[in-house]
Point group: C2
Chain length 261, copies 2
DNA sequence: CGGACGCTTGAGCACATTCAACAGACGTGG
DNA sequence: CCACGTCTGTTGAATGTGCTCAAGCGTCCG
């Protein structure tokens, strides 16, 4: 609502350092900084990079689809991807957003099961791909990779657990606050008014992340804007006061939680 | 409410074959049938069994506590264990129940982080323990073990994801139905009226599994009892008609889901 | 036998949803 | 460059699911 400076979502500033095409060497260096491939020796990284296929996906395009066979491991290099699940009634739940260095759909690859959710690029993105068979080979050859994979998947389990608790016990307002803080943490960019979320995010998107409706999100954000906690415009959200927004999560500001102790 | 035959929860029938003390050889054979150790060769199993410590935990006693340091890997041999998380306000969420062959708290061990939840025996239970350091050694020595661990943790992630969707999109009634069916699936025993859940389960327990209150659970179960879907008595639940209860999950029997497509 | 525990039920209320209508921003094409 | 349609967001009013609070009852166990 407040006037926010004009902005393009993709391009130089969003993606960090510009890498238009990226050489094999640059890829290898990048891999070494990811959770999944970190700690492998230089030679291994080089081999892994050499085996990868590169793929560009435009904003709004699908990276992979729910229930599709998981034929390839996807590593996000630049851009941003939304992981979302659709249920039988056509309602959809956004599991999370992923950024550079993350591995959308990794559990499905490791378990050799269909993707449990769809991945859609929300910004122009570039990914590296390895076939499922290649991944098996690499895991066998590099025990460190297997250990990393366990760590990555374990982290995801605990994140899911954390969100499960939110859904089970927190009122909508608190879930929205937490979702925004999480997004700011993983995709926040300093701007004048505070921390802006790096990619276009509609009320509907937030609703799908928090299991509520776009109407409730709109009302909540509007109220927070009056109180100076956030600023927002069309598909743009800036968190001005993360601290006070966080108290909304811990706090007893508003209403009552659910359930009897 | 309907008269159910008298019953003791623990003892012969609950635990499958009776193993009062259990030798190392029996332990090894048992390990070979678990998800985590399955597929290891006989020699490895024997070594692993030899390295284990046995521990008995009485019903109602804690196996480990939330936020406690994860010093040991726990494998449940007999009995049943409840995994639950308490939040700051003293409200608790039951993540799941685990039975023989399962590995409560495994993610914390693998990631070297504190337990995210508490484990409590709901029946007299026996567990095998390995120190965290031992687990590291074993995983290094047996690649198959590392692969199994990834599979186990990956399965958990997907289960959490599934439950997350339930919490986000399903009304309370559906969540209760699903919870009962899940319990019957993993701890169901044939009885005259249908499938009885293997261990004592109160309204409060069900409420903590489904993020609701014991009052709502009571009303719901009562209604289902009138319709002949379930039978229940004090801390006992029998599912009489799993099929119709399942339709409650898929179906449009009742009300409306949440969220705008 | 008495207390604790688990279960049931009613009445009232509140958060959040549903439905409906509108307003402004964007971009597209004439 | 302006007109139009589409997309996103805002807001009001009515409704309802599920929670809170309160009371009572039966059963199990000490």
């Amino acid at each position: 609502m407040v006037a926010l400076p004009a902005l393009v979502w993709d391009g130089l500033e969003a993606g960090g350092a510009r890498r238009p095409a990226m050489s094999r060497q640059e890829d290898a260096a990048f891999l070494g900084r990811t959770k999944l491939f970190g700690g492998l020796d230089a030679e291994a990284l080089d081999t892994v990079a050499a085996l990868a296929t590169s793929r560009a996906v435009g904003a709004g395009q699908a990276v992979f689809r729910q229930d599709g066979e998981a034929t390839h491991l996807h590593l996000l290099v630049t851009g941003r991807v939304k992981i979302a699940q659709v249920n039988g009634d056509g309602l959809s739940l956004t599991i999370r957003f992923m950024g550079p260095g993350e591995v959308p759909g990794c559990v499905a690859i490791f378990r050799h099961v269909p993707f449990p959710a769809s991945a859609t690029a929300v910004l122009d993105s570039r990914l590296l791909l390895w076939s499922s068979a290649r991944v098996g080979e690499m895991m066998g050859r590099h025990p460190r990779l297997a250990a990393n994979a366990l760590e990555v998947v374990g982290t995801q389990t605990q994140e899911m657990l954390h969100r499960l608790r939110e859904f089970a016990m927190d009122p909508v307002e608190r879930r929205i606050a937490r979702a925004l803080l999480r997004l700011v943490g993983q995709a926040g960019r300093r701007v004048g008014a505070g921390l802006e979320i790096d990619f276009p995010l509609s009320r509907q998107d937030i609703a799908e992340m928090t299991g509520t409706t776009l109407y409730t999100v709109s009302r909540t954000l509007r109220e927070w804007e009056r109180r100076g906690l956030v600023q927002s415009a069309r598909r743009r959200v800036v968190v001005c006061d993360p601290a006070r927004l966080g108290e909304m999560g811990t706090g007893h500001t508003g209403s009552h939680p659910r359930e009897g102790a």
